[in-house]
């Protein structure tokens, strides 16, 4: 009964999404203000229906209802409750439902937060969101219904893919999707502005907090995915430039550009059409990511249940939504001219460089991700693009970006006079260089060319970012949350740069064959193998190896990497053992049984690797802090005194 109720709720949600889109967009276009009052009702109704569908599917998972195909394929009665809930988004149909649910949550939040905006404008925003939701609901109902029954019912389920049975991965999709879906709000704001044919500075101020929050979630989501790849897959890396990883990274890069371009539009009324384009692009790349992952067009380690039928549907949806938005853009953007100018060396020019470099970075990732597809489509043979392409091309746009960051945050708006900041910049740069080179050659005593460069750039960003806030704080001046958030996010980026530099330069990696009692030394540590013993979990059996780790004789840890065999899916996974010790990350993975008690063991020592994920978390915190600034909460709508009016309708 519950699956049917959920299915019915989804159909009602589809109808309500259609009503929401129609009344909002048509009502605003024709000036029927009474139609607009129906919009918020439709938003609320749709949210209730989607939540009902979500609850029904969750109840089927919790109650082990294996008469539901999706549950039978992705769960099992031996699966712990936590993973039975997480199994809801363990495959395609449920992830789509999660996507729709999160879109409903964002829409309700926007409806709530947009009460202070002009009614027609907020209606148009909700209308565009309704259109997006309608597309996804139609997609789910037409091609990927999670509520289909299995007749006869399965006695037990096929179990959740063991790789997904990890706390990190259970929370990774909801957080990542919250970020993805969040960019639909910026997209809806952009479309609403284009439909209205006007875009003023208060528009940017409304859009900024939504975009920054979505970006923060995306940052966390990507970091969690990377952490999981490192920790659970035991592949010994944190980033593989896999198509699915790239699919989440491209919206992140463009979203980062959007945040900065929105700041210029907000403060100076510039970059209007560019900001609109970035808002469209960020959401388009989120949709494209879904397309690439779901359609089976690209083969990736992540892809499951690929289906060209679904691919065709998503492609049609992409053409309607993105094509429509870009048509609107071609029509309306020429009207949005900015009259204000700025000098080279003004903050605007640095933010322009930031945007250009970030978009180039996203473009190179895009080209590398789609190259295999294009070469296949043109029958040029199978092409595989990997780190040898991505690492140098990405670095080429990132190095100037990082170098310009420290200067850019000290530049003034409008005027290019950097003279009065020269001394601060020079001192911080020298301090960073001395500190960076000192650390590299003092602690590690060797390094590649890029090692001191990366360390210096990272430290320079930290010092240059912190100088002004510390100065203001010491003089007892107030600091806005927006500035504080920006500083925190930039420091997060710098921490990531330092961590990446260190990891790339100083990782030790060895595969060794160990007999019980044998000792091996690697990266300044000693590892003594004490043999293996069987272990058991709720739905798997395992072999656990025991290794005593010491550092110059002093005990560090006893690590027990496991090889797990899940009973139902009969899949073997490697559970790595990880120990943080004085900033070093020691990772052990159990390999093959070599016979006579000997096992192959992979030893990796990665200095500072956990700082990468911490850095992402710092960046996300900075984003949330900035979004909570009072300035964004009390945006005056019709305030003739503000500069907003001066530039609006300037065309």
């Amino acid at each position: 009964m519950l699956p049917e109720l959920g299915h019915f709720a989804l159909i009602l949600a589809l109808l309500l999404a259609a009503l929401q889109a129609f009344f909002a967009i048509a009502g605003a276009a024709r000036g029927r203000d009474r139609w607009l009052t129906a919009v918020t009702t439709a938003v609320a109704g749709q949210a209730v229906m989607v939540a009902t569908a979500m609850a029904c599917l969750m109840a089927s998972f919790v109650g082990n209802d294996f008469s539901v195909t999706y549950v039978a394929e992705n769960s099992n009665s031996a699966l712990p409750l936590f993973y039975r809930i997480a199994a809801l988004w363990g495959a395609h149909e449920g992830s789509l439902l999660l996507w729709i649910f999160l879109l409903a949550v964002w829409t309700v939040a926007v409806a709530f937060g947009a009460r202070r905006l002009p009614p027609r404008f907020s209606a148009r925003v909700l209308g565009v969101l309704g259109l997006v939701s309608f597309g996804f609901l139609l997609f789910t109902l037409a091609t990927s219904n999670p509520f289909l029954r299995l007749d006869p019912a399965a006695a037990d389920g096929r179990d959740l893919n063991p790789i997904l049975q990890d706390p990190g991965l259970a929370v990774h999709p909801p957080i990542l999707y919250t970020g993805y879906v969040g960019f639909s709000v910026a997209f809806a704001f952009a479309c609403a502005a284009m439909l209205e044919g006007r875009l003023d500075q208060s528009w940017a101020r409304w859009t900024r907090p939504w975009t920054v929050i979505a970006w923060s979630f995306l940052t966390c989501g990507i970091a969690l995915g990377s952490f999981w790849a490192y920790y659970e897959l035991g592949w010994g890396g944190f980033w593989f430039w896999d198509p699915v990883e790239n699919a989440s990274f491209m919206p992140w890069l463009v979203g980062t550009a959007l945040i900065h371009s929105l700041a210029v539009t907000d403060k100076r009324g510039l970059f209007k059409s560019w900001t609109l384009l970035l808002a469209i692009l960020a959401f388009s790349l989120s949709l494209l990511g879904t397309f690439l992952v779901r359609s089976g067009v690209l083969v990736s380690v992540h892809s499951f249940a690929a289906d060209p039928q679904r691919g065709i549907f998503i492609l049609a949806f992409l053409i309607v939504i993105i094509g429509g938005a870009l048509c609107l853009y071609a029509w309306r953007a020429p009207l949005l001219r900015s009259t204000a100018g700025f000098e080279l060396g003004a903050r605007e020019s640095f933010l322009l460089f930031n945007n250009v470099l970030l978009v180039i970075a996203a473009g190179t990732v895009f080209a590398g991700t789609l190259a295999p597809l294009i070469s296949d489509a043109l029958k040029l043979g199978t092409l595989s693009v990997g780190p040898p392409y991505f690492n140098p091309t990405f670095l080429m746009s990132m190095l100037p970006l990082l170098a310009l960051l420290s200067v850019g945050i000290h530049a003034n708006w409008k005027r290019g006079r950097l003279k009065d900041k020269q001394r601060t910049l020079l001192y911080t740069l020298v301090a960073a260089a001395v500190l960076g080179c000192g650390l590299v050659f003092g602690v590690y005593r060797h390094g590649r060319l890029l090692t001191p460069v990366g360390a210096t750039l990272g430290l320079w960003i930290i010092l240059a970012s912190a100088v002004d806030p510390i100065d203001r704080w010491r003089r007892g001046l107030s600091l806005s949350r927006a500035v504080l958030g920006m500083t925190v996010a930039h420091i997060g980026l710098a921490v990531a740069v330092i961590a990446l530099t260190t990891v790339q330069s100083f990782t030790t990696e060895r595969d060794v064959a160990l007999a019980p009692g044998a000792t091996v030394a690697a990266g300044g540590y000693e590892f003594r193998f004490a043999g293996v013993r069987p272990a058991e979990g709720p739905n798997y059996s395992a072999i656990a190896g025991t290794l005593f780790v010491t550092h110059h004789g002093a005990p560090v840890a006893v690590l027990q990497p496991q090889k797990r065999q899940y009973w139902i899916q009969r899949q073997v996974t490697s559970e790595t053992a990880i120990k943080m010790y004085h900033g070093d990350n020691i990772l052990l993975a159990l390999g093959e049984d070599l016979g006579a008690g000997r096992w192959s063991v992979r030893i990796q020592i990665r200095p500072l690797v956990s700082l990468i994920w911490l850095a992402a978390f710092i960046m996300a915190c900075g984003g949330v802090l900035a979004a909570s600034d009072r300035r964004f909460r009390n945006v005056k709508v019709a305030a003739p005194a503000t500069e907003a009016v001066a530039t609006e309708r300037s065309a």
């Binding site: 388009s284 249940a305 060209p308 039928q309 071609a330 789609l370 489509a377 009969r570």
Partner: protein, 179 residues
């Protein structure tokens, strides 16, 4: 004005590429397997019915075969068994079984009770060969061509429809006149 049309043009170009990409995408219901179009993994495992003999992938080269992963512990495998028997009676493509992580005596009893559709059954007690084949869950069926290339993969119970619509056309198209 013109430069504002550029993004639209670029997007439409991309849409065309993606549309071509879909046409080349693997078939419906397929878990995208990196094995498709690549040589089948090598194996040499004891035969279920004659443990002294080995079932070896090298001996299978030169003709089509269906590689069917099963186990007595797998409920869906019982569901596809009738189809497997019909495939055997059709006599067009031999079935090679992979008895995956199973008790050999139970597997022999299963074949004695329900009928044996296989030309040979390889016993994969450790599950190592199944990992090489990228098996996700039983049953799974792979179609391998005479050159030893995996051309098709079916996840879940094999049905008559899959046999007649997906597997037969591939085998038939590759050797015209010998349906």
């Amino acid at each position: 004005m013109n430069r504002f049309l550029l993004p639209l043009g670029a997007f439409l170009l991309l849409a065309v590429v993606l549309a071509i990409g879909i046409r080349h995408a693997p078939d419906k219901g397929v878990i995208a397997s990196p094995l498709l179009g690549r040589p089948a993994p090598q194996f040499a495992l004891p035969d279920l019915t004659q443990p002294a003999r080995l079932v070896r992938s090298v001996d299978l080269k030169g003709h089509w075969y269906l590689f069917n992963v099963w186990g007595t512990w797998c409920g869906e495998c019982r569901a596809e068994h009738e189809t497997l028997l019909r495939v055997q009676r059709a006599g067009l493509v031999p079935l090679i079984g992979l008895d995956w992580k199973d008790d050999a005596s139970e597997a022999r009893a299963w074949l004695a009770q329900f009928g044996n559709p296989y030309q040979a059954v390889a016993v994969d007690a450790s599950g190592r060969v199944a990992i090489d084949w990228g098996v996700y869950g039983a049953p799974e069926t792979f179609l391998v061509d005479p050159r030893g290339i995996v051309v098709y993969k079916h996840v879940g119970a094999l049905t008559d429809a899959v046999w007649s619509q997906e597997i037969l056309p591939r085998v038939g198209a590759a050797r015209p006149g010998k349906s």
